[in-house]
């Protein structure tokens, strides 16, 4: 649920009391029309608060915590589990790690991809799912299971739903917000090499199996795209 504009205005007064809306939109890179529209509708997007916080050198987590719906973000927050950290490693980085272990001469640059990778939302939920998580989330939030799945497929999730999912799984709130790309690892307060450490701690067997699962899912997605494309081409060939 986006943030109420009254609370947003109150927060903004604390952050940038002297600035006009034009200044704020220029410094933060949030379009002026977008900002105005969100305020008028009384629904300010979390990403707006994050952008403005970054522009004014404030930690976005602290900013979000000042809103009622996000009060649970008041620190200190529990650290993400190794499983969550691994879920935020991209599939290609995982395969790269596997290659590096078997052929150390093929060492690539040490930087991992962004934690919000093409399947991060689904991988994160899978990492914290005990088998009943989806049912619990839909019981608590009222979201239909197929809509929840649609978020995972689209690799997008509203911040509020990510928090509710983390809560239902009994894990800390930060990894979900990182998985959906709302905040960075640093903003979440993680050590810079947290994901790398978790990756290195996997045994060869664990890493190979995890990478295999990822490849399997990737292959299915690709195959589905290819089949959709083939269907479309066949229609056009006959009726186009």
């Amino acid at each position: 649920m986006p943030l109420p504009s009254k609370a947003f205005q109150h927060w903004l007064n604390g952050v940038a009391p002297q600035e006009s809306m034009a200044d704020i939109s220029r410094i933060s890179g949030v379009k002026r029309t977008t900002l105005a529209q969100q305020m008028v509708r009384g629904k300010v997007a979390e990403t707006t608060v994050v952008s403005i916080s970054r522009a004014y050198g404030i930690n976005p987590l602290d900013s979000l915590a000042s809103f009622e719906a996000y009060s649970e973000l008041h620190g200190p927050l529990p650290a993400p589990s190794p499983g969550e950290l691994i879920s935020l490693v991209s599939t290609l980085d995982m395969l790269q790690a596997l290659i590096e272990r078997t052929r150390p001469e093929n060492k690539a640059a040490a930087d991992l991809d962004d934690p919000m990778h093409p399947t991060s939302v689904k991988n994160w939920v899978d990492a914290i799912d005990d088998g009943e998580l989806r049912t619990r989330v839909s019981d608590i939030t009222g979201i239909a299971p197929q809509n929840f799945s649609a978020h995972l497929t689209a690799n997008r999730m509203p911040p509020e739903l990510a928090l509710a999912t983390a809560r239902a799984a009994g894990v800390g709130p930060t990894a979900g917000l990182v998985a959906i790309g709302l905040i960075t690892e640093a903003e979440a307060g993680w050590p810079p090499d947290a994901r790398r450490t978790a990756l290195n701690a996997l045994t060869d067997g664990e890493l190979a199996l995890l990478a295999g699962d990822r490849l399997q899912a990737w292959g299915k997605t690709l195959r589905r795209h290819e089949q959709d494309q083939e269907n479309t081409e066949r229609i056009w060939e006959n009726l186009g």
């Binding site: 290609l92 959709d228 269907n231 006959n238 009726l239 186009g240």
Partner: protein, 247 residues
């Protein structure tokens, strides 16, 4: 409403036929061009002025209506096979072009001629609405609706899969429109149940069906052109959901 609809349908069908002409001359999907030409001709024969003119040449005994029936049968055979292939429905292809489908067509065509000969059809009347009621005339009319309805029913499952699938939006909208037309043709089997007071529903359903089918088929062609413009001539498999390192 029912006065404008036939002419609007005719203009749309004629326009799509003309748009497809240059491509057909270059050899691109000629059978689809002939399908549209046949649909256009069929609509022309369903409108009073042209019908009476042509029927006068054919002796004024409504032979033109029989001609119209056979044009429609041919059109639906062609459309049915093309669409069943296109929408990936081998069962549909079999049901239309296989032994059963051809048997249905042969029986319907034979009975159509039989009931036409059995009916006193003197006195040109578009849609045969001016002829006195007779059971043979009712049977003749029902047969004319039956074959298009049969082909439509064979096509619906395959098209539905595309409508709810993941193809380009324009293609899905056009397929939905095409499907709407076919559904109307299936519904038209219930025409004898429509009370006389609502008789105007019949031409409305018929022309709406024709218009939906023409616009749907035209839209499928358009979706191809639009997609080719956007993605270049040879679209590859889109893999943007799972892309490589963002280096």
């Amino acid at each position: 409403m029912t006065g404008v609809l036939p002419w609007a349908t005719l203009i749309v069908c004629l326009a799509i036929t003309m748009i497809r002409l240059p491509g057909a001359l270059r050899g691109h999907n000629r059978s689809l061009f002939w399908i549209f030409a046949l649909i256009t001709f069929a609509i022309l024969l369903s409108i009073e002025g042209p019908y009476l003119t042509i029927d006068a040449l054919l002796g004024g005994i409504n032979l033109t209506n029989l001609l119209l029936r056979f044009i429609l049968y041919a059109t639906f055979l062609l459309v049915g096979v093309k669409a069943a292939k296109g929408f990936g429905s081998p069962n549909g292809v079999r049901a239309i072009r296989g032994p059963i489908g051809l048997a249905v067509l042969a029986v319907v065509a034979g009975l159509t001629v039989f009931f036409f000969l059995l009916t006193d059809t003197r006195g040109s009347s578009v849609g045969l609405t001016g002829l006195p009621f007779s059971h043979s005339l009712e049977a003749y009319a029902a047969l004319g609706r039956l074959y298009p309805g049969y082909v439509s029913a064979c096509l619906l499952p395959g098209i539905w899969r595309t409508v709810v699938g993941h193809g380009p939006l324009l293609l899905r909208v056009a397929s939905a429109l095409f499907m709407l037309g076919l559904v109307l043709l299936v519904i038209s089997q219930t025409f004898p149940l429509i009370p006389p007071a609502l008789a105007w529903l019949r031409p409305l359903i018929n022309y709406s069906a024709a218009l939906s089918i023409a616009l749907g088929l035209g839209g499928i062609g358009l979706s191809k052109v639009v997609s080719r413009r956007q993605n270049g001539p040879v679209p590859g498999v889109r893999t943007d959901r799972v892309r490589g390192k963002a280096s």
